[in-house]
């Protein structure tokens, strides 16, 4: 982390960048927030640890409009989003100085708390320099430990790899965290009977409170005005009704990002109700991979997306019924 701070200071000092986009220490051990630093002095609050899960690529949309360059800290998975945003002309590559930061898996405080750990006062073992094996947690109710893996976000268990797709330089080491196949959950649902599938999603989506956190955090959902907010479409609704509306919202959102979603996992991370929203996006990704050839959004900045492309012998929609 010190290395990052030092580099940030250098870049600020020599005028390469006008500001640094990173994370600021929070008032609890686990709530650092995305923040801009414009002075050397302000960098004293800079932090980069296991709780810095936010994908800062999305902030670069706004930062691209500012004067001067922004040094932005991107984790390997964030760089896919950044590439995708370049492809869609939403960020300006020339306005970014990308520091690829190492990643040893990001932590999910909800998961840690689910293990009965509450009244947290401090957490050791989440620093980027730590070996990411065990977390030692001091609480009002005594000291607790938790395996780092058990506190990790779902997305880190199915990590796409710790290679940065775009960067100006890389700082910090990474650690491989992948220990599951990202389509396993999708396969499990695909194998269900229709009633079971329906019941599963009905139960999950009934929790939705239409807070739009999934949408607003999503780097692919960067529309200036969402169709669900705009009165120009009859889809502008805010109610959370159990029947169809939430499903409509989530299907349309997933379709909206289909072929553009890099599977960064932010939607699931931020959902206050813990809805596994990535299951929608991954279904599309899996279908695209199987039907139109492997495609990873954000791997490059110029390839044609699967929904703006075709081949003469693409599968017919009836394949959905045929494969049963």
């Amino acid at each position: 982390m010190q290395e990052l701070i030092n580099r940030a200071k250098e870049l600020l000092a020599d005028g390469t960048v006008a500001r640094v986009l990173g994370w600021k220490a929070g008032d609890l051990p686990y709530n650092p927030e995305p923040a801009y630093f414009e002075t050397e002095e302000s960098l004293k609050d800079f932090v980069y640890n296991g709780f810095c899960g936010a994908n800062l690529s999305k902030y670069m949309i706004e930062a691209s409009k500012l004067e001067g360059k922004t040094m932005v800290c991107l984790k390997p998975c964030d760089t896919y989003s950044f590439n995708q945003l370049i492809k869609e002309h939403r960020v300006d590559r020339d306005k970014a100085y990308i520091v690829g930061v190492g990643c040893k898996g990001k932590l999910d405080i909800e998961k840690i708390k689910k293990q009965g750990i509450k009244g947290i006062q401090s957490i050791q073992g989440a620093e980027i320099t730590d070996d990411a094996e065990t977390l030692t947690i001091q609480t009002i109710y005594g000291e607790k430990t938790c395996a780092y893996k058990d506190g990790m976000l779902e997305r880190c268990h199915v990590c796409k790899g710790k290679e940065h797709q775009i960067y100006d330089e890389i700082i910090g080491e990474s650690k491989d965290t992948k220990d599951a196949d990202r389509f396993d959950e999708v396969r499990r649902i695909e194998a269900m009977r229709p009633e079971e599938k329906f019941a599963f999603f009905q139960s999950e989506l009934s929790k939705c409170i239409r807070c739009n956190a999934c949408r607003n955090v999503c780097p692919a959902c960067s529309c200036r005005k969402c169709v669900f907010d705009s009165n120009k479409f009859d889809s502008s609704q805010k109610a959370n009704v159990d029947s169809f509306e939430e499903k409509m919202f989530h299907i349309i959102r997933a379709f909206h990002v289909a072929g553009r979603c890099t599977d960064c996992g932010e939607c699931s991370r931020v959902c206050p109700q813990g809805i596994p929203l990535h299951l929608f996006n991954r279904k599309f990704i899996k279908d695209i991979d199987e039907l139109y050839g492997e495609y990873q959004a954000g791997e490059d900045t110029d390839s044609k997306g699967p929904l703006t492309n075709f081949t003469f012998d693409d599968a017919e929609p009836s394949i959905v019924t045929e494969r049963g």
Binding site: F201, Q202, F244, K247, K283, P317
Partner: protein
Amino acid sequence: MSIEAKEEFRPKIVAFCCNWCSYAGADLAGSSRLSYPADVKIIRVPCSCRVNPMFILRAFEKGADGVIMCGCHPGDCHYSTGNYYARRRMTLLFSMLDYIGVENGRTRVEWVSAAEGVKFSTTMNEFVEKIYSLGKNVRLEDIRCRN
């Protein structure tokens, strides 16, 4: 289900037809007097690529029991490539609907040329029969629209 119940159920079926092939195919079915059930109502669009997945979801939300989209055969699109895009969009949409537990068969895509009046009529007959066998769409409709 009893026969009575089946008689009561009249499905609402929306058919999107592209102006150049399928709508003309439907016209041909008409002028050839090839009947299909009145439950099917056709909406004319310039090309199958004009059909937004949102339209299909909207139809279900408002109580449609089946939605079918017809376009020119791949390779014959009036706009040369429209139906190729439509094909991908619909495949993914249908797959997603299947995934969230909507009964298979409530949606369908069929390529019908302007000369295929018979195919249009056969397709619609088949599709309507399928929807009858599936019954009312309850999984996607918004109950507020019921009356």
